[in-house]
Point group: C2
Amino acid sequence: MLDDRKLAVLRAIVEDYVSTHEPVGSKALVDRHNLGVSPATIRNDMAVLEEQGYIAQPHTSAGRVPTDKGYRLFVDRLSTIKPLSAAERRAIETFLANAYDLDDVVSRTVRLLAQLTRQVAVVQYPSLTRSSVRHVELVPIAAQRLLLVVITNTGRVEQRAIETHEDVSDEAIAHLRALLNARLDGCWLTDVPDVMADLTEHVPVGERPLAATVLSVLLESLVEKHEEKIIIGGAANLARADLSQSLRDVLEALEEQVVLMRLLGEAENPSGLTVRIGTENPHEGLRTTSVVATGYGAGDQAVARLGVLGPTRMDYPGTMGAVRAVARYVGQILAGS
Amino acid sequence: MLDDRKLAVLRAIVEDYVSTHEPVGSKALVDRHNLGVSPATIRNDMAVLEEQGYIAQPHTSAGRVPTDKGYRLFVDRLSTIKPLSAAERRAIETFLANAYDLDDVVSRTVRLLAQLTRQVAVVQYPSLTRSSVRHVELVPIAAQRLLLVVITNTGRVEQRAIETHEDVSDEAIAHLRALLNARLDGCWLTDVPDVMADLTEHVPVGERPLAATVLSVLLESLVEKHEEKIIIGGAANLARADLSQSLRDVLEALEEQVVLMRLLGEAENPSGLTVRIGTENPHEGLRTTSVVATGYGAGDQAVARLGVLGPTRMDYPGTMGAVRAVARYVGQILAGS
DNA sequence: CTTGGCACTCAGAGGAGAAGAGTGCCAGAT
DNA sequence: ATCTGGCACTCTTCTCCTCTGAGTGCCAAG
């Protein structure tokens, strides 16, 4: 259906369009790539490619521009992920290695990705649901107020204030703290409800109200309300890549957690990289943008996702390389810390 | 120098320009505001105002536009802060009242401000330097790793991992924790170095290395590196208020913590509201924007600042009203929690 | 000090024309 | 069967021009 040369032509069109940002014509194509045939031949190929929906012309007397379908084919079959240069890799390594806590890792990662790809970076905090408990702390901070702090194996710290509505002895708190830690250490957050189901039975009667209160807060805040925090960076790069009218829409979309969430999406592809092109995106305002995302995490298991958002006319091989490399390094950092 | 009518003319120019976004001419002015004189008279006044630098014309045959100096005069002498409507106040109250922890308060505040003013909101986390210690926690999380958690009276929780480089007994940790809490409870963060200066002397010799390590991390992370966290919201509003060329510059400026920091600035004005107009701003890229900021905090003492950034042609009375009202409510929330 | 009148300036809208890039198609060459 | 050169055609885009109208500054009279 599409012979090798037509594919080569499509590849050339994508590459040229990405670098020049202008519709590419048959003449320019043979000049820049030595395809060994004449412009007229290319024109015939282009006609076929257009008929099949891989490219389109903005108006009659203009060159061709790849469609979403064209980019899709390019990404799937015509491009190879571009590995980073040694210098870039060293930069990533040193930049991330200096991070001193989880917040810092995430914020450095987002800046790094944005700089590397010159686009908008999106990084999700290591998800609570896929983490396990490393430590639970219960701290009295006022007469009838406790602070519950949970530390996960991904280094995340969640805290929540608890109103006890009655005075509580330090012993009761210490007791409950010990019990919680004994039960929950190493426990997956998703398993917490099961593990804790019969907790109150193992507590002296006098301490049961406290235990029940703490427990409900613990469950509510960590399991049910597992808000997935996402941060973005490099928004200024949007202004450079003038997305026609839609800049406003894109900025709005980026402010909604829910949209970002769905943007990073699920890992359909076990190998890692997910690419969503233009209208494949689950949001109206992002019709002219593409997303390159992947999972990352300590060791093999992905605990969260990160990615990059840019105009559909982005440099896919380069972006994919950068996203993959950053995800790997972040994984290493998380595993090591 | 400027009689009452000239001031009235300036006020009218600012108001009209803010609402129409177009240079305002003498005729339009007498039509919209009943000034009781003819356009020709207004023209004379305008000539004076222009000579003094309060207004300017984009080109010879256009109406007048306020200069930064003109806005300054308007803000200082010609406008009164506009109180919010009852509905708006109720909205603020209910929206903020539902916040369940400090992070949530801050993120709700930033969204609220952005919506209310339809501009970019900037909120600084309650500053550590102006907070006091409520509790210190020391948690073993692995063989040679501790987690130091500090809770402040503003509800902020800071954590930092510590490498001990040798095994540490639980007793030593408990001992140190007790000592730290006894010493630091209620202590201003800025006083921490003084209070802790002789700490190691009060520790058994065997625990001194641990104490020294913990102490250095504590001092470094909480006092020296008191990174002031700032979050922004409503960036999409920038796209609406098309700032000529500089959108890119503004977005870039907003990504730099340092710039944001200086943007909110210090409270020169004890009464509260600080307004920085156009070139009064400390940053190149923000020449065409103004900032309305104020301090906020639990009770009387301001512990951090918040504000709004928008084009110089913003609705100052309305924006100032919104900023002031939000700051007050946030203060109440913080005091109450 | 204010006002009406008047000449002047200049940005912006609208239109005509020329230039140029790119296409589609066809007949001939390989 | 495929490629190629040529050619007519189609549009966008750029430039140049004119025209319009808003708004001004100035002046002389009230």
